[in-house]
């Protein structure tokens, strides 16, 4: 399936309230990502990388600005949607890979990967889940629970789950932060190649310059809310 999709982030701002103190995390941030392209987000801890990814997932409400995702000529506006609509949209169109706790511990490897297909009533993708896991070198772990997998294996399962639906947008929040260099390289390769092959937009937050350099575009967030966009 080929996506005709595009992500537009337009002058978004987000702050948190801590008692009487207002902490501004993102201010007037704008960028675009085209179908099949990737963008890496770098910056020091507390610069708002995770907040940005959560905003892109529709998990946090924006204070200002808007995020729109164009899919097959239809535009979904995050500002216009309520929490319920954003949840339904995320379920169908966004994949997410975290640094930790990526898998539901009480589902087997295969069940974890098939979960988005089940949630979206897409039985046609269930066989694809096994194929993906096989391609990712996990064919012998299908019926194991996550607790029996190594960190690298767990992340591979998480990537497989994130790409199963071939979503237009995949978000990865420091997906290699918990891994050794060999596994980091493997996971980064999997992410970038899968997104490229399936025309998925990838937004990846990372501390690693090597991995950031693999993206088409780099976005650097400062400790104070200001951003600079540069081609990789």
């Amino acid at each position: 399936m080929t996506h005709h999709s595009a992500l537009t982030v337009h002058q978004i701002s987000k702050h948190y309230q801590d008692g009487n103190r207002q902490i501004e995390v993102i201010r007037d941030l704008s960028f675009n990502v085209a179908a099949g392209k990737s963008i890496s987000v770098t910056g020091p801890s507390g610069s708002g990388k995770s907040t940005l990814l959560n905003a892109l997932a529709g998990l946090v409400e924006l204070d200002d600005g808007d995020i729109t995702l164009e899919i097959q000529d239809k535009i979904f506006s995050y500002r216009a949607a309520n929490e319920r609509a954003r949840t339904a949209f995320r379920r169908q169109h966004i994949g997410y890979v975290y640094q930790f706790f990526n898998l539901v511990p009480t589902l087997t490897v295969l069940e974890n990967v098939r979960l988005p297909a089940r949630l979206n009533r897409r039985p046609d993708l269930e066989a694809f889940a096994s194929t993906l896991l096989s391609d990712f070198g996990l064919s012998d772990r299908l019926h194991d629970f996550p607790e029996k997998l190594s960190g690298g294996e767990q992340q591979r399962v998480a990537v497989a789950r994130a790409v199963l639906l071939r979503p237009p947008l995949l978000l990865a929040d420091e997906p290699t932060g918990n891994l050794d260099s060999e596994n980091s390289a493997q996971i980064a390769d999997l992410l970038f190649s899968s997104c490229r092959d399936q025309n998925i937009m990838l937004v990846l937050a990372t501390h690693s310059h090597e991995i950031a350099a693999m993206a088409d575009t780099r976005l650097h967030l400062d400790a104070r809310p200001s951003a600079s966009l540069a081609p990789a």
Partner: protein, 773 residues
């Protein structure tokens, strides 16, 4: 710094703190209410024995007891031949008609003991030939009254010589000799009785080893006062059920302590990493949970007192109930809350710090206890306490199976089918034995008890109803004073309207030293059939209530000496609710003739084609008689039956409620410590409705695990209650009927409790001790 951090933690998690407080307070309230109800009933039962006889633990009877017999015994005691005997005293105990009242006259040796607890009369004079009476006789007797005593209605106490005069007995005649026999562990048993009122009634009664020579019959307090013994047995049943409430409350308090620890553990772990020593952290943990336990104990005391007042008002409607919070109940409330929290908390802390010890000791201990429990079931000599010990052991064993069962179910859980979210929910219920097994044990135990008691009550109700079908063959029953009854059977109105008139005479007699009620009536085939005997009762035959057969140790077709006559036991009959063992003989038997005028008319039964008209006629002819229609008796009997079990139902409901709160606290803690899992599902697009469905599946999973343990355990409880406890407590047998309603209702309530505990999300949004990314 660390106490400050803990205080902030309490402030930031108000709902969890409140739930812990409420949970513990409810646990303590159940402990307090059950204790107060039991103590109140126990005190009322003790009032059935005049205070001057309360010290006696055994009574010696023999035919024509003479003062010579007493002095002979006393000489032997003085010579040291009866070493276990601490005191003995002659007693006259007989009923006399004084001032047209039936008065129980008790004569004791005033030279050796003055009645205790007396209230001086207005005159303040003490007359050696005066009497002490209970308050009902205060203004009705013309005798000089020395004081008012605590005793059943219609009791008069005096010196032996005064009693002889009142009864018109010869000076040498005695009724029996009261004995005070030294008991091992008497002080410990007294403490246990204070902590668990009713506990003593369950202990087996051993015959003391007294070399007193031939012709004597040694009778214990239970045989001497069957009404009190019956009441104590009921009380022991309530007390034993109260022990279950206590156990479930302890489980809840322990669960709160464990949940508290689990929430704080990540903080402790990091503080330890920073160099804070484990003993310091343990003390802070125990300090915080100790504060909560103390506040909860105070709240629980007040709530328990209120609940006990309501329960007693419900069981004895119309009577004013005033309950005092004794030192024992305060000790029990604070002791339970603090001891379980601190000891359980310290143990849980140690386990968290050092990991789960892999040892077979608990399993072996449980196996040994199970064998002991089996012996208690088989051996009737272990008494009521033996039966309840078996139930306690089964509860312990069942509680221990929850953890291993969850581990097995966890391994099996990959086979669960259906929707993935349902799988997640059900597996959540099965995957966390460390967090959930204590709470699930409490829930299983409550459901099992509800099933066991439900099976017993249903079976009992069926047998009771069948007994009423047999007994209530007559249309109208008249009860009241003998003279009015004698008159009514000869009244032309009754004779004209009744197709059959059956009158019953009765008297209390002693058989083998045991006090029994003798009923005499015309035992033709029709009347015999009321007692499950299919033919006319012979002149030398006797029918025994089950209770009498057990007390006297005889079986059908064996013989029994009654008032010097040898009688054959023709059969036994159910007599649920009888306070005393009962014998029935035909009015033509030698015993009936020998008793003569001592037999008093007790009731008259009528068969009639127009019972209502007959009842009206009888009421018109005698205003002093109680006239009841068969249908009224059935209704009243069944109402009394249901009322008897009202307290039981409330106690089980409390245990179930406490168990449900325990599960809720465990589930909430589990969720708070695993918030990241829920966040992940939210990221994947799982909406609120689906999250509720997952919680529903989790609740069903929790309920199902509790059911797996509770169903077989409940049926075992039911069997023990019907076949072990009831025969030992009351002397009657109930045939266990496994009814669907007795199985399904507790399961339904248990499942509902588990589902609510699983689904209730209030407070879930609070921050955990440590936020996840």
């Amino acid at each position: 710094m660390i106490p400050l951090a803990l205080l902030r933690f309490l402030r930031r998690t108000p709902w969890s703190t409140a739930m812990a407080l409420v949970g513990m307070a409810l646990g303590v309230a159940s402990i307090v209410s059950v204790h107060l109800v039991s103590a109140s009933i126990s005190s009322r039962l003790d009032g059935l024995v005049p205070s001057s006889l309360a010290d006696f633990s055994y009574y010696l009877h023999r035919e024509n007891l003479h003062t010579h017999d007493y002095f002979e015994l006393r000489r032997r005691w003085r010579s040291g031949a009866l070493p276990t005997l601490e005191r003995l005293s002659p007693v006259v105990d007989e009923t006399a008609q004084i001032a047209d009242l039936s008065v129980r006259v008790l004569g004791i040796d005033l030279l050796s003991q003055l009645p205790s607890g007396d209230i001086p009369t207005a005159s303040g004079a003490f007359a050696f030939n005066g009497v002490w009476v209970d308050k009902s006789l205060k203004d009705t007797l013309s005798l000089p009254i020395n004081g008012i005593i605590e005793a059943p209605e219609g009791t008069l106490l005096s010196d032996i010589s005064v009693a002889h005069d009142l009864l018109d007995w010869p000076d040498h005649q005695l009724s029996y000799i009261g004995l005070v026999i030294g008991q091992a562990f008497a002080h410990s048993l007294e403490v246990a009785e204070n902590l668990l009122p009713g506990f003593g009634a369950g202990l087996p009664i051993a015959k003391p080893n007294l070399d007193i020579g031939p012709g004597w019959q040694l009778v214990n307090t239970a045989e001497q006062y069957p009404a009190r013994a019956f009441g104590k047995s009921v009380l022991f049943n309530i007390a034993a059920l109260g022990m279950l409430a206590l156990l479930v409350a302890w489980l809840l308090i322990y669960q709160v302590a464990v949940s508290w620890l689990r929430r704080l553990w990540p903080v402790f772990d990091r503080l330890h990493g920073l160099g804070v020593e484990w003993p310091h952290l343990r003390n802070y943990f125990l300090g915080s949970i100790g504060v909560i336990a103390s506040i909860a104990a105070g709240l629980g005391l007040i709530l328990g007192w209120w609940l006990a007042t309501k329960l007693l008002t419900m069981s004895v409607p119309g009577n004013a109930v005033a309950l005092d919070l004794s030192g024992w109940v305060v000790i029990k409330a604070f002791g339970s809350a603090l001891a379980v929290c601190l000891v359980g908390g310290a143990w849980a802390f140690r386990r968290s710090q050092r990991g789960q010890p892999q040892t077979l000791a608990p399993l072996l201990a449980t196996l040994v206890l199970l064998v002991c429990g089996l012996i208690c079931v088989i051996q009737p000599e272990t008494g009521l306490a033996g039966g309840f010990f078996a139930i306690a052991v089964l509860s312990l064993a069942a509680g221990q199976t929850i953890g291993p069962l969850l581990l097995r179910l966890k391994r099996w859980s990959s086979n669960i089918g259906g929707s993935y979210l349902m799988r997640v929910g059900v597996r959540e219920a099965l995957w966390h034995p460390a967090e959930l097994s204590v709470a699930l044990a409490g829930l299983s135990l409550s459901i099992a008890t509800a099933i066991g008691v439900g099976l017993m009550v249903d079976s009992f109700r069926l047998d009771f109803s069948q007994m009423l079908d047999h007994r209530l063959k007559y249309d109208v029953i008249a009860e009241g004073n003998p003279a009015s009854l004698e008159a009514v059977i000869k009244a032309p109105g009754s004779v004209a309207q009744a197709s059959r008139i059956q009158h019953y005479r009765s008297a209390d007699i002693r058989v083998d030293g045991a006090l029994v009620e003798l009923n005499v009536t015309h035992m033709d085939a029709f009347e015999s059939s009321r007692y499950a005997h299919d033919k006319r009762l012979g002149d030398s035959e006797v029918l025994l209530s089950e209770q009498a057969a057990r007390t006297l140790g005889v079986l059908p077709q064996e013989t029994l000496r009654i008032l010097g006559e040898t009688m054959t036991v023709a059969g036994t009959f159910s007599a649920f609710g009888d306070l005393k063992p009962r014998l029935i003989v035909d009015d033509q038997s030698a015993i009936a003739e020998a008793m003569g005028a001592e037999l008093k008319m007790a009731s008259v039964a009528f068969e009639s084609n127009s019972p209502k008209a007959l009842a009206r006629a009888l009421k018109a002819s005698s205003s002093t008689l109680e006239i009841r229609l068969q249908s009224d008796i059935r209704r009243i009997a069944l109402n009394v039956f249901d009322q008897t079990f009202a307290i039981t139902t409330v106690l089980i409901t409390i245990a179930l409620l406490v168990a449900a709160i325990s599960v809720y606290i465990a589930v909430t803690t589990l969720r708070l410590n695993r918030q990241t899992g829920r966040q992940l599902l939210n990221t994947l697009g799982v909406n609120r409705v689906e999250q509720h469905l997952m919680n529903l599946a989790m609740g069903i999973g929790l309920g199902a695990v509790a059911m797996i343990v509770a169903l077989p355990l409940g049926v075992m409880f039911g069997w023990i209650l019907c076949n072990v406890i009831n025969p030992r407590a009351f002397g009657w047998t109930i045939e266990l009927q496994v009814s669907a309603s007795a199985l399904l209702w507790p399961c339904a309530w248990g499942m509902l409790a588990a589902i609510l505990a699983g689904m209730l999300q209030v407070g879930d949004a609070e921050e955990g001790a440590f936020g996840g990314r």
